[in-house]
Symmetry: C2
Subunit: 371 residues, 2 copies
């Protein structure tokens, strides 16, 4: 398995900015940490750097390495001879600003008072995640990225990176993203946040880190799991199979169907890993995101992108970021005469397909990076 | 408006059964109330009776009448000269067994001890809703229905009525229903129930009727509202419009977008009307429903239907009961040589379309009832 596999050299670092970091909605951080990992070697002319932004919940550990053999969240995509080939590319992945895996966020200590920020952390935008990623790129001495790539929130971050730092990127890969969140997706995330805020243990953000609002987080994560996948996948994996068939069901309303056990298992795994306030901040950043804020309209925003080539990937079974949203990006980039290819994939795992469906995802990404 | 409109004569009644009523999963009610309303006149040969089953939440008040001018939940469909024409048909609508608008359910007083049933109400199935409806039909002296019709849970009730009482129905109309719930739909409803059960005010079902678990109900209803409609409708109605644009948002995470205000408003309207335990029972009945329980397979179950003609309606934007599920019913009924027509509608209101989209829904129903 992985033990026999060739692995890239990896470094895991935290960049600390002691200069004030100004946020898109007006806040300022006096001290900012940005956690990142790298794989492979930066070329002498520094032209082979690939920056990866993550979805809402992952850390910067995108792939295993000689230093950290733990499987990464995109193991099939990044590594020696993988579609993003670390024998050729110097790959950088950042933990999003606002997250809880080394980067500054609501769970971090506020250096001004020695206490966790919690809700005193300034309002966070996708633009801030992009800017924090650019700080790492700059610190690594890279003037121009070969490619910026991301999926979901990461795809939004990659898009806006190309708008904000348009001279500093050659190529863009945006996966299962959108120029802004739809009202349907907003309604799902708003409800997740309200479920969490309704847990008395949330305590307006002032929970003890030893007793977080796990019930609210579990319920919100279940809603995430349901909307990250697809009805078709659930039909194939679970159907109406059930573990518990006794009558009457005891205790009343407890889980019977396999789909319910799946949600229980996966939600319980998540709540131990992710800080609640960080989740709330990142979730809200996705709702706020709107490329129209970069010039007055979506068209004006996308017109700022000057990449040499772009790959936009979408999944037909995704109903949270439906494929019409990726097609919209393609149409607008092409109308701006940018070299843009579209990969509408038949994956059945919905919005999460990029994490799972190597068969459909690896070929277009490999081809894009092969030239 | 309605004041000038011709209205049918209406009666509102409760049928009380003092004989034991045996439930599908093994329980028994010693005394059973079944609330119903009727419109129009039963013909002398009793061949013009139409039985309507409801979705999860409505009462039996399907339309306004001379006795009760309040607008009904299917006002555009039922009345004089409407698609289900009360000048021609004797229309009966029952409040589902297990509901809280006059029929026996978890909120009713248990005649054995004088206290509300709450979770002592026996396990409820869609089959029990059908059987309770049939008790009303029998009490009204009707041997054979002209048509049984329903949407959503009501469509399931109508389907299984035709299986259980196959000699007693001439025609079937099943709208936005299925032979069983998909695992995706189960996951949504299971999560709604868990959200409610997680509200401390639920208290294992033993809440005081003056202080029900309104927070859990509100959150569960919001999830219902999101999944009863469609992304396309939300795009058209709400887009990214917002009422509150101030920065920073105060209090943190409060509603900004119009879609969030819409969910707030509608969920708050619902929680005053519907008993929580009744909601839990009816929601679970939908998950349990499986026509395969009537003969060992879905095919064997549907093979028991002997109607003269059927109309199956589905909506292309419905992702809770997707149109593939209605097509499945059509294919199986047609393979049994039953005269079955299919109306796949372009409504954009998702699962709830039957309540709203008169333009698409009225014509096929009017045509079906016109012959």
């Amino acid at each position: 398995m992985l033990a026999k596999q060739e692995r890239a050299t990896n470094t895991s670092n935290v960049l600390r900015l002691d200069q004030p970091f100004s946020l898109f909605r007006g806040g300022v951080l006096t001290q900012t940490d940005i956690a990142y990992e790298t794989w492979g070697q930066l070329s002498s002319n520094k032209d082979n750097a690939v920056l990866i932004f993550t979805g809402l919940s992952p850390s910067a550990h995108v792939a295993s390495s000689t230093n950290d053999p733990n499987e990464g969240w995109w193991e099939f995509m990044v590594g020696p001879n993988k579609p993003i080939d670390t024998n050729r590319f110097f790959v950088v992945c950042v933990n999003s600003l606002g997250s809880c895996f080394g980067s500054s966020g609501p769970a971090s200590i506020n250096p001004n008072n020695g206490h966790p920020y919690r809700l005193d952390f300034p309002e966070l935008s996708v633009e801030d995640i992009a800017s924090a990623g650019r700080e790492v790129v700059t610190a690594l001495g890279i003037d121009r990225l070969h490619t910026v790539i991301g999926a979901s929130l990461g795809g939004m971050s990659a898009l806006v990176y190309c708008i904000m730092f348009s001279e500093e990127v050659r190529k863009l890969v945006s996966i299962s993203a959108a120029v802004h969140s739809s009202p349907f997706a907003i309604s799902i995330r708003s409800l997740q946040r309200e479920i969490i805020r309704s847990d008395p243990a949330w305590n307006h953000g002032n929970y003890d880190s030893n007793s977080p609002p796990i019930n609210g987080m579990r319920l919100a994560r279940k809603l995430g799991l349901v909307t990250y996948r697809s009805s078709e996948e659930f039909n194939q994996r679970f159907g109406r199979k059930r573990k518990f068939k006794e009558q009457p069901i005891s205790p009343p309303f407890s889980a019977e169907f396999d789909i319910e056990s799946y949600l229980d298992y996966n939600a319980n795994n998540f709540i131990d890993q992710f800080d609640t306030n960080c989740y709330l901040y990142l979730s809200r950043a996705i709702d706020w995101f709107d490329i129209a804020m970069h010039g007055g309209s979506v068209e004006a925003g996308l017109a700022k992108i000057k990449t040499e080539s772009n790959l936009i990937i979408g999944v037909k079974s995704d109903f949270l970021f439906p494929i019409t949203q990726q097609k919209e990006i393609v149409d607008l980039l092409q109308s701006n005469k940018l070299n843009t290819s579209f990969a509408p994939l038949d994956s059945i795992q919905g919005h999460d397909s990029f994490l799972i469906d190597q068969k459909n995802f690896a070929p277009p990404v490999r081809e894009f990076f092969s030239d």
